[in-house]
Symmetry: D2
Subunit: 409 residues, 4 copies
């Protein structure tokens, strides 16, 4: 439904043309310094009208915090917030309303609810993501202060154009037995993950942090725009400085929750963590991340094909994953399709829309990542604080009771 999380819980409301969209964030730790600007920054990175690659609708999206904060400090009680919709009138009836937009939610919402919002797709509106981004910004503030966690997403492909250093795609002409060439994780990619910042990402209007590639992507998006078409892409996200021990076996493994979170973002169709699909081609002997003691004395792994998660639980290495966004369904090109009642016909242009969503999806991905990590941090805090009150275990062999690595949540 419209609630996400167990201990850090966000509930959202709102469609395109109602009075406002908003959220209630429950479970935020008390004592967190929080200003509207903490939330506004990410909302502004999400809003349309930032460049000529996005829809020209210029929405202000100013957040109004309602509760749960006094004198700039969270009280531990629910934080209500909302963003007014500029256009609050239900849309007028038009001929295009006879047609469910192909691959959009118009038809499935009507099937589900038996009644249709004037905006068609109801909650599938991109404005619904405002509540997520706001909630994610709050979670992120905590994670930064408590653990120094950094979450950075960026565009890794648009159409067929890929950031060169990212994970290489599955081999096109497979040689069954050729295990020798397995350069899945390039050193450039590993370095990118370790160093990329939001400031660097925002230097490029595509949010792909590679000048030449970004330029090619820009052209590709503009070509889609000019032809009243659309194009998809992928977003890659890295989470750094994650404590070990996060993730709840067995159904709420961290990668399962991340996948859930990411595929709840509109227009997503695919998710992979660590070496992902490409890694399925690599033998275990090469894919396994051997352990080592780092210079600072902490345990780590020599490689990080796992993407920071083993057995559903974080091991302290960087978490990285990639999400596929389909080409937006709403295009202005004429489409041969059928009306709600099955009558064949042609659906012509309606509205103004993003030709490609991935640049604006970046802060949404970061927000959902923050929500997942935050919820699991709270869960693990409950466990660890509870175990800490018990007497030391003396009945087990020492190899079964080892002191944690010092990097645990």
């Amino acid at each position: 439904m419209s609630t996400f999380g167990t201990l850090f819980r966000v509930t959202t409301y709102g469609e395109s043309h109602c009075a406002s969209v908003g959220a209630i964030i429950d479970g935020c730790p008390p004592g967190l310094p929080l200003e509207p600007q903490d939330v506004q920054t990410q909302l502004s990175r999400r809003r349309p009208g930032q460049s000529n690659l996005t829809t020209p609708r210029d929405e202000k999206d100013l957040v109004q915090l309602q509760s749960g904060i006094e004198h700039g400090i969270t009280l531990g009680t629910p934080i209500g917030l909302l963003v007014r919709n500029e256009d609050q009138r239900p849309r007028d009836y038009s001929e295009t309303d006879l047609y469910p937009r192909p691959s959009h939610a118009d038809w499935t919402y009507l099937e589900k609810y038996g009644v249709k919002a004037s905006s068609g797709g109801g909650r599938s509106s991109a404005r619904e993501t405002i509540g997520r981004v706001a909630a994610g910004a709050i979670a992120e503030k905590y994670l930064k202060l408590a653990y120094g966690i950094e979450i950075v997403a960026f565009v890794s492909s648009v159409g067929k154009i890929r950031l060169p250093s990212s994970i290489s795609p599955p081999s096109q002409v497979p040689s069954d037995d050729d295990d020798t060439v397995e350069d899945v994780l390039s050193p450039e990619f590993v370095t990118l993950l370790k160093t990329i910042t939001r400031e660097e990402v925002d230097k490029y209007i595509t949010r792909c942090p590679h000048a030449e590639t970004s330029e090619r992507m820009t052209k590709r998006i503009l070509r889609a725009k000019e032809s009243q078409d659309s194009i998809g892409g992928t977003v890659t996200c890295v989470i750094r400085n994650v404590p070990s021990g996060l993730g709840e076996p067995v159904f709420d493994k961290l990668e399962a929750k991340l996948a859930h979170a990411m595929l709840s973002i509109p227009a997503t169709k695919a998710f992979e963590v660590g070496s992902g699909f490409r890694g399925t081609e690599v033998p275990g002997s090469r894919h396994n991340d051997a352990f080592l003691r780092r210079e600072d004395g902490s345990m780590g792994t020599k490689t990080n094909w796992s993407g920071g998660i083993q057995g559903g639980i974080t091991n302290g290495e960087d978490i990285y994953f990639r999400i596929g966004f389909k080409s937006p369904a709403t295009i202005s090109q004429a489409q041969d399709t059928a009306q709600y009642d099955g009558t064949p016909g042609t659906l012509a242009a309606r509205g103004r829309h993003d030709p490609c969503v991935v640049p604006r999806a970046v802060p949404i991905v970061e927000a959902m990542a923050s929500l997942v990590i935050m919820d699991h941090v709270l869960m693990q805090h409950a466990r660890k604080a509870s175990a800490a009150l018990l007497p030391p275990i003396t009945t087990l062999p020492p190899t079964m009771v080892m002191p944690p690595s010092g990097n645990t949540a």
Copy 2:
């Protein structure tokens, strides 16, 4: 934690060396005919020792139903079930216990819990999936009887060897502007999805329903086995005859729940639904699934790049998705790694294990798919039955209140 689902809810327990593994299934509709054999069939497809491709441990895995059923009919109350473990003793201490297995859950479990099960990875044991498979078999029985839903999974790749007809991989040498070659969904693949059965799948020990490919896969797996190594692969799953209207906006979109379910299976690293990552390269004008009225009068789509889900809600077309399984972490080859305390060393062979998990993963994927669909069916039943008791809507324009298509849940 160890519970999955909202209205149809499975809770599991059990590690490798405890007395039993089991599950409680809560929320099963009353009046469902159910025999132990309904559950046993899928458990037997999951168990090891089925062929020389899997671990030689020959576990019987006989299910014992405990409650919730009388005279072969479900009562609507929780169904308790368990499967005895053959080896119920905690493992003996051995030198290999000094080493956390690379890319396995040994180390992260210890970080999380501060105490280690003798089996190392605790709940990350493959035996944990027994409860899922049993629960899924019960859900599936309902879905079959109530809607004729068919759920079939099969192996679509092992290492670099792919089922020829499946979705083509992303283009290797991308031409930025070449939109003409977009043969993502081959007609063979569409036909395969529409016709494949479990009987057909089980004809091949790899569970890849293509004779020549299966033979190549077999060789690849045996090569991994012989070299004390392992290899990964992918499983594709199709769900047919799904009613429209399933999926809960916004956080519990159907694809989000499927992704969650699939990535909760041990060793999974990737998920894609419909055209997936490959589809991100295709312009919206080609990717959109136009509507049409079918000969039987029902609404449908001309193509099915969406994979049966639009806006997070089923549209009645086949749902299909693909899951990536990494190469198993437990291998007998010597590995240079470190002990729990950071001491470098070499971890040598331990135990007997599957060189490739995808053949045995097939029934687990089917089970998790059943659990997701079942839960959403119950959710939508609640909504639809509730709306049906309200007076007809007379204040809205007719285009906003349309009769459902006849295929809704």
Copy 3:
């Protein structure tokens, strides 16, 4: 936390001095006619300043519906709503802030959160109940339209003054073996439950529907007010026309959920359903509600000591229960107590407050009752609609498969 319900779910936010209080109602069936007035009516019954028995603060409490409704019809998506706070400034510091108010939440909130809202008790503010009342009004609208369900609460005692016809209190001088006098349920009380309406209740400023008793209660409350003191009381609630079959064994029995809901209302300390504590004195042979076939052919019970619930599940008879509200903790009388740091002292007057909360608690009790019934109606709809799709049971003896009574949800 701040969310109540499984399928019909309300989440609230807001303290006394923040910008607004509000709620998100998720899971409302689509197609429900809903106007602001449906919600406002109950909010106005809840607000202070209605009579000289309540606090003179005259809050307008005008609801602003934000989403989920178009053209007066619910869309099935979340309904956001809020009520502005008149006084949005955090309170000024005053000497009374050195003292936690005795029996109030000031001290426990500080213990829990480590930080204190300027209003002291944070979410324990009576304004928090606005979201509940609004949500309850929406649930109630559905229940009325779908089942003709009527929910009426009224004041049954203030201090020692009781509505004469209500359940007699436990015997003062118990005779161990005197089972003959067990007039727990007077015919007048049964009639009252069957006929009482909100209109009748609202004729009395105490909301006790008995002229003479109401007058005595009024005097008692005014006496408390004049002496800068407070007094407690009880509220009784009846739910009529409830379908049978509501309530989820075993932990979510209907009475358990009602008790949970009622004791989540501020200042409550006690709950009893049906014959309650008094009924524990009555032998089973007299307490049991024998079955009979009613004239209209439906099944019913001759008596209703059970209060409409048997085994945690509704039987179609009226549900009635009683809630005890303590005397408000905030009084203006000087109190000998201690400061936060333990320094003994005297806490003198602060603010203006209700000398007795029960008259204003009436719509809150009705709201929480609506929320519980609504959630259980949706749960049972899911079950019943699911079972209805299964083939008829032919393998059980007919006495084990009986057609439902025609009154089921």
Copy 4:
């Protein structure tokens, strides 16, 4: 449904005549020493056949722990457990099956599920409580070790016979203005709550720790037994050494969760915490619990009318509450009632049953209390451990950020 709790979660299964009853306990902290005897002790206090006051069925109720424990230490993973049913055959059909037992769950279960277990009331069987008692014993072990928490329940009334020192019942002949006689909490009762132990309680077959009263109760129960009738009663429970800060505003106040837990026990009809219904008669000036600094420097309250909970959150004082159990519905006396199909008739004896449930209810009440406290302890641990990682608050006046009392969870 059949799951209780958020972080410490118990899920149960089982009816009277199935193979076993059991539970899965999820969320137990790792490192807790746990032996079967910890669980068995409470199960044995619950089982029938302990005295001639209970049903003569002599069930062994030996618990079999399945998972989650090794070498006597919990692993943090789910603990599966089960108790075999002695009589595992579905009951034979008999004439009494034509009649739903008055005030029992036979009829409502059939209305709810449309199919009837051979045992009639399905999950309303008393054997369902085995899983609760086992789970509660595990929670209790933790609470004892981590905080020294003590939970003791005892019988406070049978029929009209009351433990003399308990809370006095509401005044029989109320004098509207007589506030002078408010001796709700006798010093004897306060002492009893502070000192009562399970050992003391178990000295009496009624579990009422007062020799003379216990004897009168025994006679009363035997009279019920001889007349093939039944009688109700109340159980009082005290929880000592509770840390402050437990309870989740606003819907999950501690008293709300306790009420939920207690009214989920079969045959319960009433709940009151602290001064309860009786306290509603007492003016605020007397009812308020003034603060004081105790000799050990900690904060406390002079009186404890609140029952240890203020604003839904524990204040560190003893929690005490009382639960009303109705007279058992199953009696052997002939009852004039109707068959399932409405035919009037007489239901004669069936089975052997407890004439009074309160002695055996004592460990069930203790178990449910443990589950509630445990879940809230884990919730508060999550919050407190999270807040502890934030920088000190410097922007608030010192009175709004006070160090916790030293007694918090």
